[in-house]
């Protein structure tokens, strides 16, 4: 904006100063107003200092005449209206005044104007500074740092300075032309003519002009030196800012939440480059002037080359650093983890030139190459980049701002893949493991703008190239370690001697992993636990962890990272909401857990990640009264993704029951640490249960899949430390269902036989106690024999080598209910593979004969489609739902189930006995109401 316009927008106090400035009669304000652009564009101070030999500076004189002419011009432009009449009068008066006053001494006027303009500038800068100061507090919204403000200010100053210099160079040209003309004239006259006082005077004048020219050249050069010096500072600031951006980008790559936008940097870099390019043009103009006119000790001859070299160096430095990788290589799919590429998978990467200056005529082509200078390491893999390796830098893409080139859908191919067949690398082949081999993608741009041609290069951060998805986790560990610790962002041999990380660094990065993947980072306590796990109780922020300890699996021991990444996956897939809402304490040591829980009321529990599960497991620990009245802390064996896939953790918590012979089964999980009632904490996550209308309630029992643990009354609790040991080591104590299912020995304990009857009954008992549905089952006439055969079936299944899953599905009572409960979709999940289904078949077929449940179970397992095929009767989902509801109904009412147990639930009724008649305030209003758990296919129609 022109100075005069800016001045007029100043605040009142400063405007007052301006008025004062023009109150004296040196230069009327209307003249300033009408001729504002012209006045500001002249070099008045130069005109005010005439060379000694010329009493009337030609320049001041010329400017004075031009001023008068311009005023005349302005005068003639006014119309005949009344307003204009006054204006015309004033302007005419001003012109006459000026003429009268400065006719003889135009330098004085030049001086006056020069001073006025300088004063104006001073007022303006004071006014703007005050405005800025006033506007600062609210305007600081985007959190400008000190340096950013400095950059803005310096950029503005540099722009102003280069404009000023531009003007001076033009004036220099004028001076030179005038001199040149007069000198040539003089020579023509002087040649041959005898020396005369007149000639001598002319020579004198010419010398004065030349001296003036010489001084002006020196001035311009000194200004250019100064401007370059200031631009160096600006450039340093920009480089610092860019380095910070790179650092932010690096941290953002490994999960930190950083702003990695480039638009401000682009504005700055472009602005700075514009200034430098303009200065370059000016230096070239000076070079032209030098060619036209030079003299001994011409400062242009000695100083300009220096300036040009310095400027060129600055420009190339600026441009080289302005070429950056805006988006680091990333594959489109998994979980926001860039810098890990898989052969054959598409990825994208984007480079950008922050100096947005481009010659339309010159196409800016970018080439990419992988590992331009591959490190000299044996077995270092080589890859080809598939599809195109060059692209044009485009500016006008409406979807993307800036001068960018976007490589998309490119992929890598191992060069040896074809030759050696596999492409996988033997451990002995190379020094570095595949996931420790770092590769660089380098962009090369042939930049040309105006007359500057440069080859610019930039590289991505090192990428890890894998060939299969199971290397992803360890590849990511490498990316983390590199970006956390490598001082040199291009060191491809970083892992030949990876440094150790301090806990302070590691903690931050681990925190990012959680906040990036799950929107909730780790708190102080959680980090503390991790530190203790890694470094023992004396952990300090300075404790260091080696790369090998962090990420090197050494089967069967898995590394810290494998463990942590397993938990990350578990959280992301199954526990996202609970974690995000802070209900999972997660990382807490057993010792700490006991400390925390013992002080709390009985039934307080917390959720903790298993430390022994490779794939990530979560467990509940709660406090309950121990033998001597002392609080005891107990934990359930960790749930892994296997279990959580079938049943969400909140539901597990809600329905969890603990059984012991002398106890009424109850949910030990009452308060989430520190004291939130369970349902208050988890209520909103429970799977919604269907409200059933009364009619339907009659048809079916309700049922629901829950988790149960049991333990025998006389069995001592294992020492805490052993709880996490493999189930086989736990002995017979069936303190929870899964554990029970896992070992064959447990089933053996349940084998039929007189001596075994009790445990068997116990089994039946807790089935019954926990599952009203099972109670119904019992009531329907499951005798000892049936139970036995049921067990045998289970045993047989076990003998068939089924995993826990299949067995679980066959466990009495709970199991088929479990199988039945969630509806077809859940069933699918429960029964992962058809192979297992097949394996189940022999058992259930026997069970089928005994009771309707198993047959349904069998029928249900394959999922809806198979269901139809196998069970003509149970084809409708509706019927299934009805059954489910009925079961629900039963399980809801504890009283009802008590009554159900009324007769002697522990003893099987005679085989031929009808189902026991229930009385009292049971849910089942009469024997006939006892819903058809004992069903045949008709019920489903």
């Amino acid at each position: 904006m022109a100075q005069w316009q800016e001045v007029q927008q100043l605040e009142k106090a400063y405007l007052e100063q301006v008025h004062q400035l023009y109150s004296e009669d040196h230069l009327p304000m209307e003249v300033r107003q009408y001729l504002a652009p012209w006045l500001e564009d002249q070099n008045w101070s130069r005109a005010a200092e005439p060379p000694a030999a010329e009493p009337h500076s030609s320049q001041a004189h010329m400017l004075f005449q031009t001023l008068l002419a311009l005023l005349d011009d302005q005068y003639s432009r006014f119309g005949a209206s009344e307003n204009d009449f006054v204006l015309k009068h004033n302007l005419r008066k001003s012109k006459l005044n000026l003429q009268a006053r400065y006719q003889e001494c135009p330098e004085q006027l030049a001086n006056v104007i020069a001073n006025l303009l300088r004063e104006e500038k001073a007022i303006l800068s004071r006014g703007l500074a005050a405005q800025q100061a006033a506007a600062q507090p609210p305007a600081s919204a985007p959190m400008e740092t000190d340096r950013q403000q400095k950059i803005e200010r310096r950029l503005a100053e540099a722009k102003a300075a280069v404009q000023e210099l531009d003007r001076e160079v033009r004036h220099l040209e004028e001076l030179q032309d005038t001199f040149d003309f007069r000198y040539k004239l003089h020579r023509m006259v002087a040649s041959g003519a005898p020396p005369s006082p007149d000639l001598a005077r002319q020579t004198e004048q010419l010398q004065a002009m030349l001296n003036n020219l010489d001084r002006s050249r020196k001035d311009v050069l000194a200004r250019a030196q100064e401007l370059l010096g200031r631009c160096e500072t600006l450039r340093d600031f920009l480089l610092e800012e860019l380095a910070e951006w790179k650092d932010r980008q690096r941290r953002a790559c490994i999960g930190a939440a950083c702003d990695s936008s480039l638009s401000r940097l682009e504005t700055w870099f472009t602005g700075a480059a514009e200034v430098l390019f303009q200065l370059w043009r000016l230096l070239q103009a000076l070079g032209d002037q030098h060619v036209k006119l030079t003299y001994q000790h011409d400062p242009l001859a000695t100083q300009r080359p220096l300036l040009e070299s310095r400027l060129q160096e600055q420009l190339s430095c600026l441009l080289r650093s302005a070429f950056v990788v805006e988006i680091q290589p990333i594959m489109p799919f998994p979980n926001r983890r860039p810098l890990v590429l898989k052969t054959g998978s598409k990825f994208s990467v984007r480079a950008r030139l922050l100096v947005k200056l481009q010659d339309r005529s010159h196409r800016l082509e970018v080439k990419i190459v992988l590992d331009q200078h591959p490190p000299d390491v044996k077995g270092f893999r080589k890859f080809n980049i598939l599809t195109s390796t060059s692209k044009t830098l485009v500016q006008d893409d409406p979807q993307m701002e800036g001068l960018v080139c976007d490589f998309r859908h490119i992929s890598l191919k191992d060069q040896r893949a074809g030759a050696s067949g596999k492409g996988s690398k033997g451990a002995s082949e190379g020094l570095l493991a595949i996931t420790e081999e770092l590769h660089l993608i380098t962009f090369t741009l042939d930049y040309k703008y105006q007359e500057l041609a440069l080859e610019l290069q930039t590289s991505t951060l090192p990428v890890v190239i894998i060939s299969s998805n199971n290397q992803f986790s360890s590849a990511w560990a490498s990316v983390l370690w590199f970006n956390m610790l490598s001082p040199d962002p291009k060191n491809q041999l970083f892992f030949s001697a990876p440094p150790a990380a301090s806990w302070a660094q590691l903690a931050e990065v681990l925190n990012w992993q959680f906040s990036a993947a799950t929107e909730r980072g780790l708190d102080k306590e959680q980090l503390h636990m991790l530190a203790e796990k890694l470094f023992g109780p004396e952990a300090t922020p300075a404790s260091t962890l080696t790369w090998a300890k962090f990420a090197k699996d050494n089967p069967p021991v898995f590394s810290f990272w494998t463990w942590l990444d397993g938990i990350l996956n578990l959280i992301r897939d199954h526990l996202a909401q609970l974690w995000k809402d802070g209900h999972i304490m997660g990382f807490v040591s057993r010792k700490r857990e006991r400390q925390l829980l013992k002080r709390k009321q009985m039934g307080t529990f917390l959720l903790r990640f298993s430390e022994s599960s490779r794939e990530g497991g979560i467990t509940c620990s709660w406090v309950e009264p121990g033998e001597k009245g002392q609080p005891k802390v107990r934990s359930v064996e960790p749930y892994t993704k296997m279990e959580l896939t079938s049943l969400p953790l909140p539901d597990i918590i809600h329905d969890y029951q603990l059984v012991a012979a002398e106890n009424i089964p109850e949910n030990p999980l009452k308060f989430l640490y520190p004291g939130t009632p369970r349902d208050e904490a988890f209520g909103k996550y429970y799977t919604e249960r269907r409200e059933v209308d009364l009619l339907e309630r009659r048809k079916y029992l309700n049922r629901r899949l829950i988790r149960v643990s049991s333990r025998q009354p006389h069995e001592p609790w294992l020492p805490e430390d052993m709880v996490a040991a493999p189930p086989a080591a736990e002995g017979l104590a069936a303190n929870h269902l899964e554990a029970l299912e896992l070992g064959a020995n447990r089933l053996e304990a349940l084998e039929p036989g007189a001596s075994h009857l009790e445990p068997l009954e116990l089994g039946a008992n807790h089935v019954e106690a926990l599952e009203p549905g099972a109670c119904g089952l019992e009531a329907l006439g499951l005798g000892a024999y049936e139970l036995e055969s049921l067990e045998l079936g289970a045993y047989g299944l076990e003998a068939l080598g089924l995993g826990a899953y299949g067995l679980e599905a066959l466990e009495p009572g709970a199991n088929h209910l479990e199988a039945l409960e969630p509806g077809p979709s859940r069933l699918e999940a429960l029964e992962p593979g058809p192979s297992r289904l097949e394996a189940l078949e022999p058992g259930p077929s026997r069970l089928e004969a005994l009771e309707p449940g198993p047959s349904r179970l069998e029928a249900l397992e394959p999922g809806p489609s198979r269901l139809e095929a196998l069970e003509p009767g149970a084809s409708t989902q509706e019927a299934l739902e009805a059954l489910k509801q009925e079961l629900d109904l039963m399980s809801f009412d504890q009283a009802g189930s008590n009554v159900l147990r009324g007769g002697d639930p522990y003893l099987p009724p005679p085989a031929d006995m009808p189902p026991p008649v229930l009385s009292g305030n049971t849910l089942f209003l009469g024997a006939n109401d006892l819903p058809p758990l004992h069903v045949d296919s008709k019920d489903f129609q």
Binding site: Q108, E204, Q207, D236, Q303, L306, S309, Q314
Partner: protein, 403 residues
């Protein structure tokens, strides 16, 4: 509001390039005669000299009273005109930078103002301090942004300091300072100048065999600080460089010295003890080095220097002379940086100077002067990636004010 008095401007006078000084010759090789320098400004200058002499007695006392008054007195006189540039008289950017460092130092100008003016005109023309004083006066009275130091330059050429020669700033500083000192006739004043600038050290040589110590006192105008340590490793900071400078050196093998006591060549330990640090301390970074069979090279890598320097934290007890007084005063603030840009054989000097009266940094590029910030000064730390940028060459530190 500033008043502008055009008539006053002219009285200060136009100046002309003297042919003898800067012979302006046209491209055709034809010189154009020019008149003798106008003498218009001469009376004015003499007048101011008289003023200076009148005030001398009063000033004398003030000096004794210490910094504070001194600053108030001379500060008002010295900088009533802000910072003024000096035109380049032909590769004289080095001289200009040094002159600015001298002129902005109020402790120096106090001495300069008290010199005896030579009575004979030819003497006047030959006297460096007098010409400097004239130039200073001219700068302070100038209404222009820059003045020509032609008289001083001419005076210097009389003393074999030629124009159009690339000077090394450290070397020129030494020559200039010696000229000034030798031409100050008042012995007391010359001593004051010496005290203001001289670093006193004691060099010693200890025989490793018999522990016989040879000592020698020397005076230094600058401390020539190395960029590399004895193992040719880059030094990281100015403090490291200072430490390295005072580090004793083992002289063995061919470097062995004759020990008077042992009467034969023995391995020795050579070192330096600091006796006295002056008020104005000049440090010289040895950025230019001479490689065999090649040109002088410039080391442009970064060597950060602090804004304030405490020698008590840098030197060990052994590196200070036991007689060293005022050790508590060995605390310095950065006052000026003479920076070089370009190559060793071909470059430009500019000066960054802290104005003691205004409390601001200025950058002097010949005729162009601008106010800058500490960031700009920091920019002269150097940068190993660039060869043409500005790098600090001379560092001038000034003793911290007791207040």
């Amino acid at each position: 509001m500033e008043t502008y008095l055009p008539s006053h401007r002219f009285s200060l006078g136009p100046f002309v390039l003297l042919q003898s000084l800067c012979c302006v010759v046209l491209w055709m090789g034809q010189g154009i005669g020019c008149p003798e320098k106008s003498r218009k400004s001469e009376p004015a200058l003499n007048q101011s000299m008289r003023k200076a002499k009148d005030g001398e007695e009063g000033r004398e006392e003030a000096v004794e009273r210490g910094d504070k008054q001194l600053r108030a007195l001379s500060g008002a006189a010295d900088l009533n005109n802000g910072a003024i540039g000096l035109y380049n008289m032909g590769l004289s950017c080095c001289l200009n930078s040094l002159l600015q460092v001298f002129f902005m130092n109020i402790h120096f100008t106090v001495i300069l103002r008290r010199i005896k003016v030579p009575t004979v005109r030819t003497e006047q023309k030959k006297s460096v301090p007098y010409q400097m004083l004239l130039l200073l006066e001219q700068m302070q009275r100038s209404k222009q942004r820059a003045v020509y130091p032609q008289e001083l330059v001419r005076c210097l050429t009389l003393h074999n300091l030629k124009l159009f020669v690339q000077y090394d700033a450290a070397q020129l500083f030494l020559s200039l300072w010696n000229l000034i000192k030798s031409q100050i006739t008042d012995g007391q004043l010359a001593d004051r100048l010496t005290t203001l600038y001289t670093i006193r050290v004691q060099e010693y040589l200890v025989c490793q065999k018999c522990s016989f110590e040879t000592k020698r006192d020397s005076n230094l105008l600058t401390l020539p600080l190395p960029m590399f340590n004895s193992c040719s490793q880059r030094l990281k900071t100015l403090e490291d460089s200072l430490r390295c400078f005072f580090q004793p050196e083992q002289l063995t093998d061919s470097n062995m010295c004759l020990c008077e006591q042992c009467e034969r060549k023995t391995p020795c330990l050579q070192g330096m003890r600091l006796t006295c640090l002056p008020h104005t301390l000049t440090l010289h970074l040895k950025r230019f080095y001479y490689r065999k069979s090649s040109w002088t090279q410039k080391i442009s890598y970064s060597l950060p220097f602090p804004q304030s320097l405490d020698f008590n934290q840098i030197l060990t007890q052994e590196q200070c002379h036991p007689d060293a007084k005022e050790k508590a005063d060995w605390q310095y603030d950065l006052f000026g940086v003479v920076a070089h840009s370009g190559l060793a054989s071909f470059g430009h000097y500019c000066a960054y100077i802290w104005s003691l009266t205004e409390g601001k940094w200025y950058c002097f590029n010949d005729s162009s002067v601008c106010q800058v910030s500490w960031d700009d000064v920091k920019c002269t730390y150097g940068n190993s990636h660039t060869h043409w940028g500005e790098t600090a060459y001379l560092l001038v530190y000034m003793r911290k004010n007791p207040q």
